[in-house]
Subunit: 204 residues, 2 copies
């Protein structure tokens, strides 16, 4: 009876213009970079008139923070899917998470890396607003790693006794660096080196 | 008698225009990013007419590769100074190297990071020429770490038995990631987390 539910009765919902522009910005900035992406290009990809942009976003910088939030919103869903998977022990959850990311980068030809890392390289020095959003999302990301590592330490599965928060930050940052090198090398070698040292030494 | 050497006899050497432009590009791109830096801005900083740029560089991309080379040339001098210092055991050389970098980033307010990492984030996906120069310099950098780590393993000072090449790549890439996070956080915490895990775990 799913076709009789209320959600199907009205006219087919159109995604809002604001969201269309954010999704266009996300794909374009992720592929080409923040400085290289002009507002003109974004409205072209979104297929909206240029005036729409300023209806929704006071500036490119404000738009940038919305794009960062939209990116991390999706990333966080994936993170939580893997890291809260009670079927697996904590260390194996982390491994499964990184293996899924490595497979995805292999599929897409080692491009683009992480949007948070890209904004950190390009814009963090120049925009307090962008920096604030980066700090917040990196912190959320690291806290999810930390909880998983702490659980593994408590269960005796992760023998490393360094503070879980330090290990979590180190692993997150090292992943970001592995992605930079992946893009230079256009290969998965940096991701596999990350995997072998993190799971063979740091969390062993 | 140094003032009588041949080098002092002729007219005072002026730095070449080409080098002036490269140095202007290096400081500007390092501070503001590659896409954000136009050729107009570079010739203004270099105080040369715009035509000069195209006398020396066929394109912004070719110029970018020269800027990358100029950056790494300096970085390599520092690297070799620290890593070939026979006064210290290999592990302590690596520590001294990173401590000097951490102190320098503290002095300059946690800005700019590493130009090779910045180009990897911004331009590696889009320029085979730039990518080639990044690959080469990262490889040189990693080989210097590798030689030092292998020496420490041989001397029994670094007990970790993973291949020195893997450890070297991992450490280099993790450093690059720590620099990204440093710029987001505007603090040395990511650099200190790097230091404590690398020297307390990975090379311990």
């Amino acid at each position: 009876m799913a076709h009789h539910t209320a959600a199907r009765r009205g006219p087919k919902p159109r995604p809002g213009v604001r969201d269309t522009i954010i999704q266009a910005g996300l794909s374009t900035i992720y592929a080409d970079g923040y400085a290289a992406t002009g507002i003109q290009r974004i409205v072209e990809v979104a297929e909206v008139p240029k005036g729409s942009f300023y209806t929704y976003f006071p500036s490119k910088e404000a738009f940038g923070t919305d794009v960062i939030d939209a990116y991390f919103e999706r990333a966080q869903v994936r993170l939580e899917t893997f890291l809260n998977d009670a079927e697996l022990p904590p260390r194996a959850r982390l491994e499964a998470y990184f293996d899924a990311l490595i497979a995805a980068f292999r599929d897409t030809g080692f491009l683009r890396g992480c949007l948070l890392g890209n904004f950190s390289a390009e814009a963090a020095d120049h925009s307090a607003a962008i920096r604030t959003h980066l700090v917040q999302h990196f912190k959320t990301w690291s806290h999810l790693f930390e909880a998983c590592i702490a659980e593994g330490q408590k269960a005796g599965q992760i023998p490393n006794r360094m503070p879980a928060a330090t290990l979590a930050d180190f692993i997150l940052n090292s992943w970001e660096g592995a992605l930079l090198r992946m893009r230079a090398d256009q290969s998965d070698a940096p991701l596999l080196a990350f995997r072998s040292v993190v799971f063979g030494e740091v969390l062993a």
